[in-house]
Every structure is written in C-alpha cells, then in structure tokens.
Amino acid sequence: MRSKLFLLVLAAICLSFSVAANAQSYAITNAKIVTVSGATIDKGTIVIRNGLIAAVGANIQPPADAQIFDATGLTVYPGFIDALTNLGLGAPTAAPTGGGRPGGGGGGGGQAAVTTAAQPTSNSNYPAGLRPEDSSFDELKAGEAQFDTNRNAGFTTVLTTGRTGIFNGQSAVIDLSGDSVSEMVIKSQFAEHVSFVTIGGGSYPQSLLGTFSALRQMFYDAQRQQEVEKQYSADPRGIKRPEADKSLEALFPAINRQMPVVFNANRERDIVRALDLIKEFNLKGVIAGGQEAWKVADRLKTMNVPVLLSLNFPKRTASASPEADPEPLETLRNRAETPKCAAKLAAAGVKFAFQSGAATTIGDFFTNAGKAVEGGLSKDAAIRAMTLGSAEILGVDKVMGSIETGKIANLALVKGDLFGRDKFVPQIIVDGKVFEQKEPARQTGGGRGQGGGQAAGGPNLAGTYTVNIDIPGSPITGTFTFTQSGTALSGSMNLQGGNTPIRDGKVTADGFSFAATVPFGGANLEITVHGTASGNQISGSIDSSQGTVSFSGTKNP
C-alpha cells in the first residue's frame, strides 16, 4: 500500500514538459543502451533526427547541431509497449443495452435516463455489443496530456480498444504523443477484439450459451455475405442484390486471416473455447488476459496463437474476517500461479506480450513484470515482452520495439532497476518528441493528504465493472459504471436491464461507498453499497431493507 501511495504522490507531483526535437537533432550520450535487437551497449550514444533513430552505437559522435543530453547513470530502453489498454477513448460509454430492446416494460421510471444519451446511433442490423465495425480509430480523442501517467511510467506505445460488448471493436496501435489522432496512430486497425460476455437488457444473447451461438452465426453469415457479394459483382443478372451489411463486412478481414481476432480470456476453459472458435473459423487468433494460459501452452504453441498477457495479477481484496468462509483452493492457487505464467509460456515457445490488464495502478506493470522474473522468466525475455516481442505481435516491429537505426525514436530513459519499486523515468522520447519529468524529493513518513483533491493513495475506480451479486438462490449479474473526481464517485448501476444513477458516492483509501434507489419487484428499494477495490477487482456488500448480500466484480478491460 505504501509504495502504491508513493507512486501516486510521485505522479501527481512530477512535472512533465516537452522539447521539440524535430528541428534539430538530439543526442543521448553516455547511456547504457538496451537495444533488445542486439547486444546491450554499456556506454553509448543515440542520435535522433526527424523523429527517427539516426544512429546508435558505442563510438558515435553527436552531430554538430545536436542538442546533447548526458545520460550518465541512465539506461535507455526501446519505448515500452502496453499491449492492451483503453487509452485515448475517453470515459467508457454506457454498457450497451442492445438494439431492439423491447418496449412496454416500463423500466425503472424516470431515473433510468442517465446514460441513454450516450447511446450511439448506427445503421447496423445488430444491437450494440455485436458490432464488429466499432473502431478505436473513430473514437480516439486527440491530445497527449491525457497520457501523462502512462508516459511517465515509461510507455511510448499502446494498443487501445473499446471495452464493451461481445465485439469490442477494432483496436489501434498508438504512440502516446501528438496533438491530432492522425499523429498518434501507428496502425489504425490491428485486430478485432472479442469478449465472452452477454449484451444485457434482455436482448439476445443474454447468456453465455447464446454468446457463442451468436458469434458463430455472425462468422458464418460473414462468410456467406462475402461469397454472395463476390458472386453478385461477378455477374449480378438474375440475382437478388445482397443487402449491404456493414457489421458483417467489418468481419471480412478477420475471416480472411488478414486481421487478427483477439479473444479476452483468462481462465483455462475460456481460452480453450477461444481456441476452438479460432480453429472452427480458421482465424488468426490472439488471446488477451491469459492468466491460465500456461495450462494450455502446448496448444497455444501448436496453433501459433500469441498471448497479450495481463500483468494485473490477482490479489486478495477481502479483509480478514473470522466469519468468512475459507477462500477456495482454486483462488489461492490462482494467485500463486499467475505470476509464473509468463515463464511457462516462454519455456513452451508461446509468443506473448505484456499488457496492463486494466490495472488501476500503472506502476504495477513493471513491478509485476519483476514478479514474472521471480517466477522464472529471464529478464531479457521480460523486457522483450514489453518491447520488440510486443511489436512483433502487434505487427509494428519494423518500425519500433528495438533501438535500431531507422526505427521510430521511441525511447525510455530509466533510472534504477526497471523492475524495482524506485524505478524512475526522467526522460521519455515518443516519436522523437522529448518529455521530461523531475524526480520529486522523497517523501518520508505517511504522506497521505488530508482531504481534498485526489484521494491520496486511494484507488482510481473510474470504469465499468461487471458485477456478480450473490442473492441467495438467484445470483444476478449487472454493471457498475463509475466516474471519479477526487474522492467523489458518481455514475450508474445497471441491474437486470434497469439503469439507476448512484448517489453520495465516496472513495476512501482502499474502498468506496454509494447509495442508490433501484426498482425491485415492482417497488423502489433503497440500497447502500460498501466495497473495497484492488487491482481491477471490487467486492463488498449491498444493504437494503431486504437484507445484506455480497457482490464482487471485475473492471471491464
């Protein structure tokens, strides 16, 4: 807790500013250079010109016009890549309520209109959540200030994708600099992303059974659509014109193996289900999450399916309580085994790239990569999985991922042990643009702020969570969508198709609370919710006149 707090304080205090390095050349001298593609240079120089690496080596003379930065004591890595994020896409949109949501039900009265305004209009024949044409590129917000935290941690590049629905949409590879979306984007369409979820609101599919059937039907329909369109364009006479269908057409690159399909799957059986679909439709498959990927490493290797491996390792969130049931053995094992997954994948020859897994604290990325190293992964392999290895999987290895002449100048200058708690990135170069941050004076003692501002050391809860509420006899699934401003929490909860705003939301050092009025059995029920958060997990209890029930949830990636 202390170190997480420290990192947040640090991030808040750090100033970051940028220097334009395009006009003249820029040289980093006296640095230890981890090129990743070749041998590490113990003391060398990197020259940057026009946003590209112009030269790198031990005996390079900086050009006369170069602005020189003496990096004595620092290690230069290729800019780090986070292989799955939702960066740049703004606040999450409301959980999709499905297209043809049946009317007549009445819903939760006047309160339900909180997030419906955000519902995008579309000419798709499919409900929101089953629209593969959704594109991160279309939804990206311009401006590099939004990436300060990630850049300061050492990231130059991320894969970013929507987070809702069965089809999350198409992801983009972006650099974390640039004032316009066009400047940011490295690759506008990397892959189609799929989650094994339902779309809610009473629409099909409302169970995982239907999710798989719906996916299959759409892949089959896309195959046929492509065939018929081909047939029609070859000779349209005597054939009824095939209906235009932008959702099915968006799947053509996927079924033709031109675009990878990324399946979000952590548990072994979800990974196996994804692999079965990949095989059935001959897709260029990728697994994202992959906590239990080590259990099917051989099959991943055989099918040549890479893993975007989450570094958001499971943590225990529940406080000790004498009345609590013992945790399931499976949970205990999972927490112990997950950090060892990367090493096992490496041993089996499975390709993988590290990703932050919607972790609430970005610093966990490197410390948890360190845990993967403790779990048996070589340091080189760990570094590769956040640089060149990622770039290979994302199809951008020709332009980034290593420190080589001619590649994009994406560089992270690191002070201290990359995997250690006191790692600091005084300077990061994104697309040739230099960003600096000053190391803050070390805080001593409990530096917890007293009220006001961002909850010092408190979690960042913003996002949408899929929540299981353990009502005895009839557990239900819903979503909590939070927006956080300092210690104030707002947003909505969506249970059984009704959308309800939350009230009196507060964020504390390690938890949160809010109240709401929910329609229940034809009446309004007042509830209060108390929870704790850790990583991307939340859990807690819901109190009402009907009694107390527990809930647990996971932040949607």
Binding site: M1, G104, A324
Partner: protein, 486 residues
C-alpha cells in the same frame, strides 16, 4: 487446476511415487490410517484391470456371485470365475463388495457455466458443449456417487432450448475428452410453467416473452418445424441447381432439420399429461419420435400411449408439489410406466441428488415392487438406451466400456458407499485415494495461505465478507425442485 492435481496425483501414485521420500511418507499415512490402497502399487501405465471375486449386478443377466471382471483397453474383456490377470494387469480384490455398471444421469446441468438462453422462445442454436466446465467439483462428487455418464441439458426456459451434450465424467481429463464421441446428438424441448414463465416475476424493463400459454408453446414448436422444413427445401433447391444463391447457414434451424431427419433426439421437459400427448401428436404430424419425456410427473396417466410411441420417460422417483403442475405426481409413476413397457430412467436434475441415484432406484422397488434388476436398469441401461449409448455402456457385458462401480454393500442399501468408480477401466474415484487427496489439499492450503499474495490486506476498512450460506448444490429440495427454471 484441481484436475491437474488429480491427474498428477494419479501419475505420481502409479509411477514415480516410490522414488520420493515424501511420497513414501504418504503411503505411510495411508497404512497408518488403515486404508492401504491395494491396487495402485503394482499398477502399470495402461488402465487394464481385473476385479476379483465380486458380487456383480450386471443389469442384464442377473447378479453373479464370486465373479471376476477383466477390463482391457477400456472394454470389458471377460466376465467369469477364477480369471487370472494377464501380465501387467493390476488386480482389485472385491471380495464382499458389489459391482454395478456406472450410473447414468439422464437429466443434468452439472459442469455447465450457463444453463438457459432465455432471450428467445427457440434457442436451438445454443450448445451446452460450449459451456462445459471440467473443473466443476460436482463432477468429482458425482463420481463418488457412482455416476459415470450424464445427459447435460439446456434449461427449460423456452419451448425449444439448446443442444445437449452426453458426457462421461472423466475428471482430470481435458474438456474434449468428456463428450461421448458416438452419442447421438440431442436437444431440449420444454412445456408448461417454466416456458410460460408463470413462476417468475417479470423483471423491470423487460417485455413478456411469447408464448404465455400451453397452446402458444406447441404453436411455437410447430412453427419451428415448419420453418425448418422450408429451410431444408431451400438448401435442397440450391443443391439441385434450382436456385443461384446459396441460402444462409442457419444455426437455429439446422438442429431442427436433424430432428425431422431422425438424427437428433428430443428430450422434452414436461409435467402434465395433456402437454405430453400434444407433443406426441406433433411428433406424429412431423414424423419423428420423441426420445424422452423429462420429469413426466403425470406420465403414468398416459402410460399406454407413451409406450405405443416408443418414447422413454425420465423421472424423479418421489419429488412433487413444488409448483402447481407438480401436484399430481405419485411415487408409483415408475412402476406404472414400467408395467406398461415404457423405458423408464430416474434422473437427478441436481448436482446434489445426482450422488444418490442408487437410493432413488431402490425406492421403485418399494413403490409398486419393480424387480431389483429392472430398478437398477432405471439408472444404468435405460438411460443409456434413452441417450443412444447402450451399445457401449449401461450394463456389465463383454464388449461394453469398462464403466464400473464397486460398492461396499448392496447399492440399494443406505449403508452402501462407493469404493471405486472407473470409466473405461480408468479409476476416477477411489475412496483410499480420496483420503490421501484430502491430506494433500489440506497441506497445500496451509502452504498457499501463508503466501504474501494470499494474505488479507493489512489495512482494513472494508466490511467483513459475508459467508455464502447457501452455495450451489447445497440448497434444499423444496427450493430446488426440478431446478426451478432449469
């Protein structure tokens, strides 16, 4: 994870165990506890096994005293007296023990991550195969009750539900080993209160779903068959070159075409005799046979009609009164159906009751006096027939799969316990092994709980966790019924 442990344990015990001091300690524990495991020490890599000197309830040819069963390559190779184990075949001494075929549960929702897709009235495109969870502890508990196979059905939320999966409970194996490869495919139909949704309170924001009556239910079925007929015609026309553009591959209608072609078994959730008759008439109209009426609480009222259709019935022995349509049930249902020549099976529809199907079979001896072998068939051979897997399992006969249960006493006794359950000769439950595993998991838990990653967060603040008072599978019968909406 658990399955990996079981599997590793099996490997460990059978092959490498004696080489480790730790493993030796485990054997010492076994011996100290008075439960020395007699079979594993001289076992070999294959699953060939000779069961010696048992009371064998074959389920077809009566009960054979002091009889041996040799299983080789997963199949029952010999049944007789004084058999000797070929080289490399391990022997289990079953003196004083009873042996039955593995129990088959013809109606289960165990090991499924989702049971109902209720968005539509026809969800024949869904497959329980997609939802198999091979880590569900229910599987192991079922094995401990002698169950080796099960019919994993979609729930009863709609007129036509999803496609079934007929599995063997190969606990510890990868999920693809569970489905029985040559089992004919099936599908769930449902009628009555669950489909009409009369037992559910409408959820806010959701429209009521058609059908809301029994007549609407049968209309939904008929409509699906008519659509399937048209669909098949469209494909036939295309294949015959009569149309230019290939029709859409429709995952909803394809399984219904298979029903019409006699390739897919219909398992129809039904309570009242009138709705059962309606479905049988509909089957006549479209020229197929209903494989089973599931639950069939009022089936005894129309036993001759059901027999005439060659339809099986899969029932609870004595469970009733949990909803309006369940008030006319009687415990003589099995007897009356049996007397009329109907193939009857007894199912659990419950993760918990699945473990005690032997006692449910015993009850039909009490109510009406079904003979012992016929009662045993109701949990072995008859469900195998209903599921189309009787060529390979369901009785102890030479040539069938080595799906065998060894009991400490007569399986119809409440004092009887399962000692060993094997599928195709491979042991998936063994009481001595279970004792060892309990020690192992307790040790493992102790080690794991000490890890930093499993410690409770130091700073409190959150409310104490509320114990899950009622976990799945531990609810009482009244609450559970036939699974409510299952």
């Amino acid at each position: 994870m658990r399955k990996a442990i079981v599997f590793l344990l099996l490997i460990a015990i059978t092959s490498i165990l004696p080489t480790f001091a730790l493993a030796q300690a485990k054997i010492d524990v076994l011996v100290k506890n008075g439960t020395p495991n007699t079979w594993f020490k001289d076992s070999v890599a294959n699953n060939d096994v000779l069961i010696k000197n048992a009371t064998v309830m074959t389920a077809v040819k009566g009960t054979l005293e002091n009889t041996d069963i040799l299983i080789q390559n997963g199949k029952i190779a010999k049944i007789g007296k004084g058999l000797t184990a070929p080289a490399g075949v391990r022997t289990i001494d079953a003196t004083g023990k009873y042996v039955t075929p593995g129990i088959i549960d013809c109606h289960s929702h165990s090991m499924l991550d989702a049971i109902n897709e209720g968005a539509f009235s026809v969800t024949s495109m869904t497959r329980t195969r997609d939802m198999l969870n091979p880590t569900d502890i229910t599987i192991y508990r079922a094995l401990a009750g002698g169950v080796t196979s099960a019919n994993l059905l979609h729930g009863s939320a709609n007129s036509i539900g999803g496609q079934n999966t007929t599995v063997k409970f190969k606990w510890g194996h990868p999920v693809e080993d569970y489905p029985i490869p040559d089992a004919p495919p099936g599908i769930k139909f449902a009628m009555g209160e669950n489909v009409r949704q009369t037992t559910q309170s409408p959820q806010p924001g959701r429209a009521l779903r058609y059908p809301r009556t029994r007549q609407g239910t049968i209309e939904t079925d008929r409509d699906a068959f008519l659509r399937a007929r048209d669909y098949k015609q469209a494909w036939d026309d295309f294949k015959a070159g009569k149309t230019k553009v290939q029709p859409r591959k429709d995952l909803e209608l394809e399984p219904i075409v298979e029903i019409l072609e006699g390739k897919r078994l219909v398992h129809a959730h039904s309570y009242r005799s009138d709705e059962m008759l309606n479905l049988l008439l509909l089957a006549d109209e479209f020229g197929f046979r209903v494989a089973t009426l599931q639950h069939g609480l009022e089936a005894y009222k129309i036993a001759p009609e059901i027999a005439k259709h060659g339809t099986g019935v899969s029932i609870f022995t004595d469970s009733w009164g949990y909803k309006l349509e369940a008030y006319d049930a009687i415990p003589w249902n099995a007897y009356i159906l049996w007397k009329n020549g109907v193939v009857v099976s007894i199912n659990s529809d419950s993760d918990e009751r699945m473990r005690r199907l032997n006692l449910d079979a015993a009850k039909v001896e009490k109510y009406g006096g079904v003979p012992e072998q016929d009662a045993l068939q109701m949990i072995t051979l008859n469900p195998a027939k209903q599921l189309g897997i009787d060529k390979r399992t369901g009785s102890i006969e030479v040539g069938k799969d080595g799906d065998i249960v060894i009991w400490t006493a007569h399986p119809f006794s409440v004092y009887s316990r399962v000692e060993t359950t094997m599928i195709e000769g491979e042991v998936f439950f063994d009481r001595a092994m279970d004792s060892q595993m309990r020690l192992d998991t307790a040790n493992e838990r102790e080690t794991l709980e000490k890890l930093d990653v499993n410690r409770a967060p130091g700073t409190g603040g959150g409310p104490p966790r509320i114990p899950a008072e009622k976990r799945r599978g531990e609810r009482d019968e009244a609450e559970y019924g036939d699974g409510g909406n299952r």
